[in-house]
């Protein structure tokens, strides 16, 4: 067993021991801003994150979005202080001020310009009393005033200062500020299989399929779908997509190998079955029209009625040309779970 395999298997073990998912812990002193520590794990945090990402790319792990970090474009530190700043001088020394408009004379000014009296406020221009908001006066809105350059504005600019290297970013410079998503990781079906076998599934067939060779891995499935979509755009050949999930009485259940084999038996040789996540698979029907896809959906659901596939749920995916394939499939998976 190579060092890499041993390291990745240890990372899988960390995730499996962490519970349903390995959650990040916020740590301002860590270079990445977060640390992942499994139960009793002595793995180095930085290399662990690299391993987790590698495993997620290979479909051994599933990513669960937690948050998004802003990174300094100079030093990539996550220690950025983001705040509202002045439009003209970029100072953060701002105050928020409310304005009033006196209908009678049209005077507009900050609330502080209208002297407060027991029965209302006194207009500095015409000396009349303002008593009823909405009847004799109202507020055109609030604004910011910069205590440094005296400029006033309604919508402040967003600026940032890196607390690590001291660099400042305002306005268009903020577009240079990088972002990194922070995820929790949970074991996918493939990861569970790798752990139980004590090895990574790296043979030519195993690299493409789940452990039993019936279901394509997630990233392979998505690549196939994108290929089909390219063909549809280029030569107009259609294809069908059905997302399938498993579970009964509103709860989800893993879409296991037995269930996958049942569905596989309903599909044509040319059709492909791929894993979306632990609970869902996707049937890709190359060359199928919409009506043919619907017919296949009915056949799958009929199998549920015959108890061949109890608790199976499924729906057809209408994939627009510009949509993100993975997001679209995940969206339908959530929808059938909700239904």
């Amino acid at each position: 067993m190579s060092d890499r395999t041993a390291r990745l298997l240890r990372a899988l073990k960390v995730v499996s021991e962490a519970g349903p998912a390995l959650e990040p812990s916020w740590n301002p002193h860590a270079r990445e801003g977060v640390v992942y520590r499994g139960t009793g794990s002595e793995l180095n945090d930085v290399s662990l994150l690299g391993d987790l990402e590698e495993l997620a790319n290979e479909d051994y792990l599933e990513r669960v979005f937690v948050d998004r970090l802003s990174l300094c474009p100079n030093c990539e530190s996550h220690a950025l202080n983001v705040r509202e700043v002045c439009l003209t001088c970029a100072s953060a020394n701002l105050s928020q001020i409310k304005t009033l408009l006196h209908f009678r004379c049209g005077f507009v000014g900050p609330v502080s310009a209208f002297a407060e009296e027991p029965r209302g406020r006194r207009c500095p221009k015409c000396r009349k009393l303002l008593t009823d908001l909405g009847t004799d006066h109202d507020s055109p809105g609030d604004y910011f005033s910069c205590r440094t350059c005296n400029a006033s504005f309604q919508v402040a600019e967003v600026g940032a200062r890196c607390l690590s290297c001291g660099a400042r970013f305002v306005g268009v410079e903020m577009q240079r500020v990088g972002q990194r998503d922070v995820f929790a990781y949970r074991l996918a079906a493939l990861g569970a299989a790798a752990l139980s076998e004590g090895r990574l599934l790296e043979g030519p067939r195993e690299a493409l399929h789940d452990a039993d060779g019936v279901v394509y891995r997630r990233h392979v499935l998505i690549a196939h779908v994108e290929d089909e979509r390219r063909r549809r755009l280029g030569v107009g050949t259609g294809f069908g997509l059905i997302v399938l999930g498993s579970g009964q009485n509103g709860s989800r259940a893993p879409f296991d190998d037995k269930l996958a084999a049942t569905v596989r038996g309903l599909l044509a040789d040319n059709d492909k079955l791929g894993r979306l996540d632990e609970h869902h698979v996707v049937a890709l029907l190359p060359g199928a029209s919409k009506s043919q896809t619907r017919t296949m959906l009915k056949r799958v659901l009929a199998a549920r009625g015959a108890s061949a596939a109890p608790g199976i749920r499924a729906d057809v995916v209408d994939l627009p040309d510009a949509a993100n394939v993975a997001e679209q499939l995940d969206e339908v998976a959530r929808r059938i779970d909700g239904a």
Partner: protein, 452 residues
């Protein structure tokens, strides 16, 4: 003529009415024939001898509306530098901050043109404040794209409040020593601010009016006429008024103000006619007003007749409301001779004169058949000649209107007559307080505003 007219009125038979109308208009247009010009000249001679009221009104019109233009042109021909901006002393080498304030409701893409014109001008020390009057289009979004320059700031009013309020809102945020008020459909030229600023060397100068050029001058026949009209009735008139110290309007579409003067008055008052009102209030506060021939702005004018009529109706009613009612105290000598002169000049020329012209025309048609050739024939040709001369003067002093527009001069009177009738109608309506509210100002504010 009286018989024809009586026949036309008394007949209820449509066929007869059509025949009568044909005869009437045939007779009317026959006075455009060259032989009738001689007849008209004869009539004019008769009028001189008879000292008719029509004759003296004609003389008054020439003295008031043509003579000053000729005098100012002679001054320009002899000493053109008189019309250049003063030499910079105080501001030489320095660029005081100029705050350009723009108020608008649904200006759309034209707000981009306006802001760009200021940002691209030769004068760099500017800040632009756009106060949006609760637009329902993407004006705020468009204007905010300039905020990253650090020189533009946008304030979106939370309610529809009218132009004056939004100008005051913008005024609240200015930091400059001078305020340039610009309309959202108007743009400045490269040298506009630099040409207007030197007038403020005189500490008594409170505001400087810009020269207005028509941007959409070829959009329709109406805009072509307005292109000529702005030069004749605004720019030329402002020049001689400037020399006499009786500038009557600092236009809201483009003018520069001393910030202390404007803020000292508490900004704009509510109601219609914000620019007229501000001009008169500045005059009463004894600020000097100037006209900058080289401080040019270009603006869009109404393209359709209905839009033009609505605009002029508003202007006329504002004139009565502001000049004759709100600021009627200018009629006394309390605010000086020039201000009193301005009041009476307005009363005579913009209220009594239009009514008198229409009254005299009706009178001449109905009771003085002999005057008809004078009115239709002589007046037409004389007015055309006079306009031709004024267009050449304007062209010489401002390069506008282009010579290619000279063919419009004989037709100009047909553009002015409907406007005159509109003016008479609106003066009458305003004097009688008929439907005084205008949607320019929201009703919730209108109800609270004192009206005069």
């Amino acid at each position: 003529m009286t018989q024809i007219f009586s026949g036309f009125l008394s007949s209820f038979d449509p066929a007869h009415a059509i025949r009568a109308a044909e005869e009437y208009f045939g007779w009317l247009f026959s006075y455009f024939d060259p032989p009738h010009i001689l007849e008209a000249l004869n009539t004019f001679g008769q009028l001189i001898n008879s000292s008719s009221l029509l004759f003296w009104s004609f003389v008054y019109t020439v003295v008031r509306y043509t003579l000053p233009d000729i005098v100012i042109w002679i001054m320009y021909a002899i000493h053109p530098k008189t019309f250049d901006p003063p030499r910079l002393k105080k501001y030489a080498g320095a660029e005081p901050l100029v705050s350009v304030i723009i108020a608008g409701r649904n200006p759309g893409p034209s707000i981009v043109t306006s802001i760009q014109s200021v940002l691209r001008s030769d004068y760099s020390n500017v800040e632009i404040i756009f106060a949006d009057d609760y637009s329902t289009d993407n004006s705020v979004e468009l204007a905010r794209t300039f905020e990253r320059t650090g020189r533009v700031r946008v304030f979106a009013n939370a309610n529809h409040s009218g132009k004056a309020v939004n100008l005051n809102l913008a005024l609240n945020f200015v930091r400059g020593e001078f305020v340039f008020v610009l309309d959202a459909d108007t743009q400045i030229y490269n040298d506009t601010i630099a040409s207007m600023l030197p007038y403020f060397e005189d500490p008594q100068v409170g505001a400087v009016a810009a020269s207005i050029f028509v941007r959409n001058g070829t959009a329709s026949l109406l805009t072509r006429f307005q292109r000529i009209e702005y030069m004749l009735t605004y720019t030329l008139a402002q020049l001689w008024r400037d020399k006499l110290g009786i500038i009557a309007i600092v236009p809201g579409m483009g003018a520069m103000f001393r910030t202390t003067a404007m803020k000292g008055l508490g900004g704009f008052d509510m109601g219609l006619g914000d620019d007229t009102d501000m001009t008169l209030r500045l005059r009463k506060a004894r600020w000097r007003l100037k006209m900058a021939l080289r401080g040019r702005i270009s603006t869009d004018v109404p393209v359709t007749l209905s839009h033009l009529m609505r605009q002029r109706a508003r202007w006329t009613r504002n004139m009565v409301k502001m000049r004759l009612r709100k600021h009627r105290d200018m009629a006394t000598l309390r605010y000086g001779f020039a201000n009193a002169f301005l009041f009476y000049e307005n009363l005579v020329n913009r209220t009594i004169r239009p009514l008198a012209i229409v009254g005299l025309a009706i009178y001449a048609h109905l009771y003085r058949g002999v005057d008809a050739p004078f009115i239709i024939g002589f007046l037409f040709w004389f007015t055309s000649l006079e306009l031709f001369l004024k267009v050449l003067i304007a062209r010489d002093m401002t390069t506008e209107p282009p010579l290619g527009q000279l063919w419009l001069v004989p037709l100009y009177i047909f553009y002015r007559v409907p406007l005159l009738l509109n003016q008479v109608t609106q003066v009458t309506r305003e004097l009688l307080y008929i439907k005084t509210w205008h949607p320019y100002v929201p009703k919730r504010i209108w109800k609270q505003t004192p009206h005069h």
